[in-house]
């Protein structure tokens, strides 16, 4: 059992349900007209229910699409479907319903900390609404029918974003990755466009969607989260006991860079903000980790460009990032 609160290890929880409308071919085989029909059929009842407007990708600037992906509100697969891709997002951005992604409908709910149950509850309600209005592709044996058989059955992915600095630093993350794959769960790095586990952030999710109920999937992911959190807690204790002085120095230096730099690129920013997050998690800095997570999103390239309100080249963006950090970070400490 872990001694401290689970939110010291978990950033957010996400439930994703995939659904297809029975009467249309799936998006990879669907024509433009059918694509628009699916948009209309799915979005109309949804807009009323979630009090959010349908956003069509064709109406967005490329930078706005990128900013949505950085915020995890839309997937890369949806971002590629400019012609018929659409999304309905609720007011507090906890729910996004992607239309014409890999499947006709991808319902996604993101909640802070470890809260798969309430995320599922909302996703389930939206799912009910969709199947009240449209015939959803379903088979009594195979469950919900999806574009790729890896998503059949519940068509559900339950993922949890974890913050695992100590396990990364002491390199035991290897074992964690291994033990979770044994349980048919996957753990992978979150940021860095697939090249780096930047920010010590990892995503743990179920791999099987058929043969287990939604509840069983959520429970197995949750169980694993607690195991990983326990390992991280032990690793943090050890790290702090053995290297308190060096660690504190590293973290304070990172703070110094972030609030003093004249320009800072994404990689250097991620490297240093990760240390700040570690400092916050270890109690060396009195800062809320959730506030830091928001800064991380705000400092991703497209979100930063949108915030500035003008077109920035790479250097201008790095200068703007440094200015932004100088403004927001001191207020937090």
């Amino acid at each position: 059992m872990i001694k401290s609160d689970i939110s010291n290890y978990v950033i957010s929880s996400r439930i994703r349900l995939a659904r297809n409308l029975a009467k249309y071919p799936f998006p990879n085989k669907m024509g433009f007209e059918d694509g628009l029909r699916v948009i209309k059929e799915v979005s109309e009842p949804l807009e009323k229910y979630v009090d959010g407007k349908l956003i069509m990708l064709k109406d967005l600037e490329p930078i706005e699409i990128k900013a949505f992906t950085e915020k995890h509100l839309i997937s890369n697969a949806l971002a590629e479907n400019i012609k018929t891709g659409g999304v309905v997002i609720n007011k507090d951005s906890t729910l996004s319903v992607m239309i014409n992604e890999e499947d006709h409908v991808r319902i996604q709910v993101i909640k802070r900390s470890l809260d798969l149950e309430s995320a599922y509850e909302l996703a389930d309600k939206v799912d009910d609404l969709i199947s009240e209005n449209s015939e959803v592709a379903f088979d009594i044996h195979l469950g919900y029918l999806t574009g790729c058989p890896t998503n059949l059955g519940t068509a559900m992915r339950a993922s949890v974003m974890m913050f695992l600095p100590a396990l990364t630093i002491n390199r035991t993350i290897n074992n964690v990755i291994f033990s979770s794959s044994k349980d048919a769960l996957a753990l992978r790095g979150v940021f860095g466009e697939g090249t780096q586990a930047e920010g010590y952030m990892y995503q743990l999710s179920n791999q099987y969607s058929l043969g287990l109920s939604e509840k069983e999937i959520i429970n197995s992911v949750k169980n694993q989260i607690y195991k990983v959190a326990e390992a991280e807690e032990i690793a943090r204790d050890t790290l702090l006991n053995k290297n308190r002085v060096e660690l504190t120095d590293m973290i304070m230096r990172a703070w110094g860079i972030l609030i003093n730099a004249y320009k800072i690129d994404t990689a250097e920013f991620m490297q240093n903000i990760s240390l700040i997050k570690l400092g916050a998690a270890l109690g060396i800095l009195k800062i809320k980790n959730s506030a830091l997570d928001e800064i991380i999103i705000a400092c991703r390239p497209a979100n930063l460009a949108l915030r500035s309100g003008k077109k920035l080249d790479a250097i201008e963006r790095d200068i703007y990032r440094a200015e932004f950090l100088k403004d927001v970070l001191p207020k937090m400490a």
């Binding site: 890369n76 009594i140 466009e193 058929l210």
Partner: protein, 172 residues
């Protein structure tokens, strides 16, 4: 299923999603940890996912892993979905079906595909609008019963049997 590496011990599916692509490989625990160790070396810092990606570059393309056996087997009939026109070959190459009916059209190959990427081939979760909720519950209980008998948990099995009978009773 045997481990793809040593072909001796029982392999378990190691599934990862990288850049939105699902990669599946059946490995036993020994081979899996060996490969991870080899590939990751001692450092885990910046190049972590690079190394990780490497593991999979060694293994031929993901869907070869997923569906390769079916594609190479000579006895596989060439199938075509009458509704959307997707062929079995297209499906095995892309891992995507074209419509709901494809699952019926490709039934002869679907079972082994599902076996490779899923825990079971019987849905035990939610259904739309309460469709056949009882049926799904029955499927779930039957699956649990099978498992209980396999594990020789006979007391549990008896309990589950009772539940099944109750559920069947409410159907009449």
């Amino acid at each position: 299923m045997l481990c793809e590496n040593c072909k001796k011990r029982e392999g378990i599916p190691n599934v990862y999603i990288l850049n939105g692509v699902t990669k599946v490989r059946y490995l036993c625990s020994e081979c899996n940890s060996q490969i991870i160790k080899q590939k990751m070396g001692t450092g885990l810092g910046s190049g972590f996912l690079d190394d990780f990606g490497d593991i999979f570059n060694d293994l031929s393309d993901v869907f070869d892993q997923l569906f390769g056996v079916e594609r190479n087997a000579p006895s596989i009939p060439s199938l075509r979905c009458s509704r959307c026109g997707t062929t079995s070959n297209e499906f095995l190459n892309s891992a995507f079906v074209g419509c709901a009916q494809c699952y019926k059209a490709f039934e002869p190959i679907m079972e082994s595909v599902i076996k490779k990427c899923q825990k079971d081939n019987i849905h035990t979760g939610k259904g739309p609008n309460g469709i056949a909720k009882t049926y799904i519950s029955l499927q779930r209980l039957n699956a649990e019963l099978k498992k209980a008998v396999q594990d020789e948990r006979y007391e549990d099995a008896a309990l589950i049997k009772k539940q099944i009978e109750q559920l069947k009773g409410t159907q009449k």
